[in-house]
Symmetry: C2
Subunit: 226 residues, 2 copies
DNA sequence: AAAGCCCGGATTGTTGACAATCCCGCGAGT
DNA sequence: ACTCGCGGGATTGTCAACAATCCGGGCTTT
């Protein structure tokens, strides 16, 4: 047999995925105290694998656990959310630079095609910010893996993105930003296509910085309450 | 009773700490395949808490696990080790900048005192690189926490440092570097004391960059074989 | 009346046994 | 002789019961 790929999928992995998506989608809101038995019945699991999954999620910072006192979904303060974007800024900047140096021509072509798809999606669905959010995630995902930096991709994809997405559904990317963000994406890809790592890094950092300022503005306006 | 502090220390935490230090100290070498029962008897644990700890360590990237096939200590390639330093460079740079903006005067004074202690330690123990390594860890540790950036500190202290320390004992910080490194530390602290975040970031990035070049040189010389 | 203490109930942490899966050495076939 | 397939054995994944610890309501006390 030549199915070297999927190995097997253990119950703990299942529990991990279920919980992670539940947290990201907002089914488990930040600050919620969640009982182990509740989770077991909800996802049809037993406590063994569940506890292993809880350990992993705690280690990634999505859950906080106090011994004998239960486990809660992490609740970021506004300053912590902003700090998260400061980290994203530098890490994605590095990813963009290394992606410009290392992505294959095929990967770059795919990336451009992805942006085209996003553009039609945005044009078709006015204000349907959901697709934009998913598209944005896809874009950053490809660059992270394109960096060929294992640990960097792991930290971005495994830690930061889930935490960002968990808070993003609340502010439902503001009206004007999708078009502007798409333009920024385009210019980043251009820099990558020209193998200009320095420029790609600069543009990516500015892109994330703009997103951060957007969020800070919303917080100050009181639109975004955490 | 007013012992609000230590809560309780669960067996899984114990397992986690034991394994982590065993990996960092080299008792469990990279690439080793480790059986669960071996670990249980070695640390006097049972498999439940152990598996939870394994999950956490896997999530942090210190272990790799294949379902039904056992768990191995992660083994970094030379390029992955170098990439790790690229990540450290930008993250510690950010930490230094934010530390310059946010550390208290008391913390800065303590940091300077720490450096004085390191200096006497280095002078006393010629070539005893171990203390230098620990001192270096202490220095970076203080700056990470001084950044007041929760997630950043968590990523540095929880993920990157353990991985770096795990490989550091092999190259036993080269002869000339301790003094030079101490000088670099001193200048970083000066910048922090003057609240010059930009300079602190620049100096820290250059400091880590030098460490990376040092390692790359060793690898090319064939001294450091992974 | 407000604050502090204590106890019962529920939840978490831990354990040992059971079932499913993979690795390794052996034999058969080419 | 080398490759391929196949059990036996060991190891991992999973489960359900046991023990330890924390939270909330009622009571006493000042």
């Amino acid at each position: 047999m030549l199915d070297t790929a999927p190995q097997t999928y253990t119950r703990a992995d299942e529990a991990f995925d279920c919980l992670q998506t539940a947290i990201v989608k907002g089914d488990l809101a930040p600050g919620d105290k969640i009982g182990e038995l509740d989770l077991c019945s909800r996802f049809d699991l037993t406590r063994g694998p569940l506890r292993e999954a809880l350990g992993r999620l705690e280690s990634r910072g999505l859950l906080v656990r106090r011994p004998h006192a239960g486990v809660r979904v992490v609740s970021l303060s506004t300053t912590e959310l902003v700090e998260l974007y400061r980290i994203r800024e530098i890490m994605e900047g590095l990813a963009a630079r290394q992606a410009a140096e290392r992505m294959t021509d095929q990967e770059i072509a795919d990336l451009q095609a992805t942006l085209d798809a996003h553009e039609t999606m945005i044009d078709e669905a006015h204000g349907q910010a959901y697709y934009q959010a998913e598209g944005d995630y896809d874009f950053h995902h490809r660059i992270a893996t394109g960096s060929r930096n294992t640990k960097l991709a792991q930290m971005l994809l495994g830690d930061l993105y889930y935490m960002v997405r968990m808070y993003r559904y609340r502010l439902s990317t503001s009206a004007g930003r999708p078009h502007r963000a798409l333009g920024e994406h385009r210019r980043i890809v251009e820099a990558i296509a020209q193998r200009d790592g320095e420029l790609a890094e600069f543009l990516m950092k500015r892109h994330i910085n703009a997103a951060r300022e957007n969020i800070e503005k919303k917080i100050q306006e009181g639109v975004l309450t955490i």
